[in-house]
């Protein structure tokens, strides 16, 4: 069922009068009258909101309560679980019920964070048929949004929510008409969560790791690049607190992607910024990339740990436990080191200088060759060059090519992907999405190949370290050996899969699309200029 079932109760109508009016029209009883505190949860990047779901924990007095997952689209679609006192952060904090399984595919490894809280007085009415069977619930709510300190803020939100019982859609539609036509309620036009977020001054989707910029193709290259780089800096800064507090692994991941994109742009957009500036920031962001690398590597191993266990022969699985302990300890010390790096003068100066540089308006006249050219032309040139480089390097790969060649190709693909993603807003949406999708498939294969190569090497190294420090028995070393052997097998499987993926990427239709978008468009622009 997909009709809106939330209504605003006008201030002139009290809940009591509304109930009395309803009782005259339909058989109903008061089910519950509760004063409850509701906390809405979402991930930092609003994955639940984006998938049109609402996760809320309702408590009466203590922290214990019930957790509800509902769809914003389908009325009545609902999963509930009783929650103990413990706070919820990750999937594994939830009992293994329907909610956990439904959430798993939406939030994955991300932490659940409270995004808003309300205190409400809710009267729930059961609307009954002639058999006194409940056919729908009507929840009448008067809510106050709460600040983080528990104080009320904003105006009282007065809502009526019709929750139909499954199999009684026709009756619920009739009741909906009765509420609007006979009782004068207005459709709320949005979920309660929207109203609560608005009352607290929050905008859903206020963080996203996506660029979300609309660039003008004729914009000067230096100004457009600064816009993109500014957005990337904002993403870095937005993730810093999550890394410091180790909220979840994706803060560091998003931070590193933003750093890598910044570096890539600085390298690819040659002669857009003065050489000295470009060189300085290339060096500094390379440093930032290096210091964040080790902690992310360990994060990946820990995220994949369940997969690793499944790869090992069942009797050896428990023997991997010391490896997990080692990784966790190592991760703690690496994050500590990373937090210290964020407090260094070098990091703070880098961020401050970089922001100051990006805030500076571009000079009207610039001696730098590409600075004043249209971003469309500069991006075309770079993307076309990277595409040709990818094709050339891909064509040279054969069954005996060393892993290093595949790694180099992967790096080129990554540069091409970043350029396509960062400047996608200046190209036709459908074309660019198709190119990115096919490139991503190739890149995933190369990424998996490289990861498996690196992981097997690093795990062997860790195995030696554990052995040298006497931190695990021979079973653990055997289990790691077993794991490394499986990783190598998988790596060979990925190598075989490469040729199919590359063929798909290099097919004539893709080449024609790249040529049309990035070479022919560039030639046309040059011809127009010459004319």
């Amino acid at each position: 069922m997909s009709w809106n079932c939330q209504y605003n109760i006008p201030n002139s109508l009290s809940v009591r009068r509304l109930t009395q009016g309803l009782k005259r029209l339909v058989s109903c009883t008061v089910d519950t009258q509760q004063s409850i505190q509701t906390t809405f949860y979402d991930t930092y990047d609003w994955r639940l909101y984006a998938s049109r779901h609402v996760l809320e924990k309702q408590c009466e007095n203590s922290n214990a309560g019930t957790l509800h997952l509902r769809s914003m689209e389908k009325t009545g679609a609902h999963a509930v679980v009783k929650m103990p006192h413990e706070p919820i952060t990750f999937l594994q904090d939830l009992p293994n019920t329907a909610i956990r399984r439904q959430l798993a595919s939406i939030i994955e490894m991300r932490a659940l964070l409270p995004v808003a809280s309300i205190r409400s007085c809710t009267t729930t009415l059961r609307l009954l048929d002639t058999n006194q069977k409940t056919v729908a619930y009507l929840e009448l709510q008067e809510s106050h949004a709460l600040t983080s300190t528990g104080r009320t803020q904003g105006q009282v939100i007065r809502r009526a929510c019709l929750v139909p019982v499954r199999g009684y859609a026709t009756t619920a539609r009739r009741l909906s008409r009765l509420l609007t036509e006979d009782l004068g309620l207005e459709s709320a036009g949005g979920d309660l969560l929207n109203a609560v977020l608005a009352a607290g001054g929050r905008r859903p989707g206020d963080y996203s790791s996506k660029l979300g910029l609309q660039l003008d193709p004729n914009m000067r290259a230096d100004a457009a690049s600064k816009l993109v780089l500014h957005r990337l800096l904002d993403i870095m800064r937005a993730n810093e607190h999550g890394i410091r507090n180790r909220v979840d692994t994706e803060f560091l991941h998003d931070f590193r992607v933003a750093v890598r994109r910044t570096r890539s742009l600085l390298v690819q957009l040659n002669n857009v910024f003065p050489g000295r500036t470009q060189n300085r920031y290339r060096r500094d962001f390379q440093w930032l990339q290096q210091i964040t690398g080790p902690a992310r590597d360990i994060d990946v191993y820990l995220l994949k740990f369940a997969e690793y266990q499944a790869m090992v022969e069942p009797p050896l699985r428990p023997a991997l436990a010391p490896l997990r302990v080692y990784l966790e300890q190592h991760s703690t010390s690496l994050y500590r080191r990373l937090t210290r790096a964020f407090d260094t003068a070098r990091y703070n100066k880098l961020i401050a200088d970089w922001r100051a540089f990006l805030d500076q308006p571009s000079p009207k006249k610039s001696a730098v060759q590409n600075a004043a050219r249209a971003i469309h032309d500069v991006a075309n040139e770079r993307i076309w060059r990277l595409y040709r480089r990818t094709i050339k390097a891909g064509r040279a790969i054969n069954h005996d090519s060393p892993a290093q060649d595949l790694h180099e190709l992967r790096k080129t693909c990554k540069k091409l992907r970043y350029m396509l993603e960062l400047f996608q807003s200046i190209y036709p949406k459908r074309d660019i999405k198709q190119l990115i999708r096919t490139l991503k498939q190739l890149q995933d294969n190369l990424g998996d190949f490289n990861d498996l190569q690196v992981q097997s090497e690093v795990l062997q190294q860790i195995s030696k370290e554990i052995h040298a420090k006497n931190r695990a028995g021979p079973e653990t070393l055997m289990a790691i050996g077993n794991l490394v052997a499986t990783l190598r097998q998988q790596r060979e499987f990925e190598r075989q899969a490469f040729f199919g993926r590359y063929k798909k990427f290099a097919r004539p239709a893709m080449a024609a699309r790249f040529r049309r978008l990035f070479r022919d468009a560039g030639n046309d622009a040059r011809a127009n200029k010459a004319a």
């Binding site: 009545g76 679609a77 509930v80 019920t97 006194q132 199999g167």
Partner: protein, 264 residues
């Protein structure tokens, strides 16, 4: 999804009370539960105040012209749905017999349920027939309420023999004593020393109690109106034992859950 059939060859032993009360308790645990009233008498539908009627009857469902999901009704309790009875269920035997695979007809009909429910409780009609064989085919366990009397034990013994003879060992047999009247010496004797052949995995027994009979007056699960009664407590213990038996016997259900779940 796990399918539990409340089944007995004999009538009036407490099958419906078992399906309704255990279904309710499972829903209270947070599981998504469906009670399927397969008995044409429609007692479970009556308890949940739902009209025992399916548009198009069982024929359309069995011929898969209509999905089970379309005819399910929500009950008065969260997470607990009902597939109501229909008077045409009395012809189920004939309908199944005319299908391509008479012994596996219910399996394909039930397939759409598997991503929507954690438990399906089937309230069966008393008999041993083609319908029963279909129920054995789809169920992970048979809950067999048994009154501690000679005739009830005899029918249970028949069921045990039938299960072994037809190689239906995939379905777990969970008999338990029901409607136990401690005032009767025969009941006391049988409950205390059950015949060895029956080897009851479940120790809990449901006492004979007027509160259970009042389900027909209240038209609601026992726990909702007499939560502290002996019978309600016994049903809670029974559910705990059933869950533990299921966990021991089946690492995975016969209906393996899929990860891509939708809202029910």
């Amino acid at each position: 999804m796990k399918v539990l059939a409340s089944y007995s060859i004999k009538g009036g032993v407490g099958k419906t009370a078992t399906a309704v009360n255990l279904g309710y308790l499972a829903a209270c645990d947070g599981a998504r539960v469906l009670v399927w009233d397969l008995d044409p008498q429609g007692a479970a539908s009556y308890y949940f105040r739902v009209k025992p009627k399916i548009e198009g009857g069982s024929k359309r469902l069995l011929r898969r012209k209509r999905s089970l999901l379309e005819v399910i009704k929500g009950t008065d309790y969260r997470n607990l749905d009902l597939l109501p009875a229909d008077f045409s269920n009395r012809h189920l035997e004939l309908l199944l017999d005319h299908g391509k695979k008479p012994r596996r007809g219910l399996r394909s009909v039930m397939r759409p349920l598997q991503n929507h429910y954690d438990y399906v409780f089937i309230d069966c009609a008393p008999s041993i027939s083609l319908v029963s064989e279909n129920v054995f085919d789809v169920s992970d366990a048979l809950l067999v309420p048994t009154i501690p009397t000679t005739l009830s034990l005899r029918t249970l013994s028949t069921l045990i023999d039938f299960r072994l003879k037809h190689g239906l060992t995939d379905v777990q047999l969970l008999p338990f004593f029901s409607m136990v009247d401690r005032r009767k010496s025969l009941h006391r004797l049988i409950v205390e020393r059950p015949p060895k052949k029956l080897s009851l995995a479940i120790k809990t027994f449901i006492p004979f109690a007027s509160e259970v009979e009042k389900m027909g007056v209240r038209r609601a699960p026992l726990t909702t109106y007499a939560a502290h009664s002996r019978a309600a407590v016994a049903f809670e213990q029974l559910w705990t034992e059933v869950k533990s038996c299921l966990a021991k016997h089946h690492e995975t259900s016969r209906w393996a859950a899929k990860s891509n779940e939708n809202f029910s």
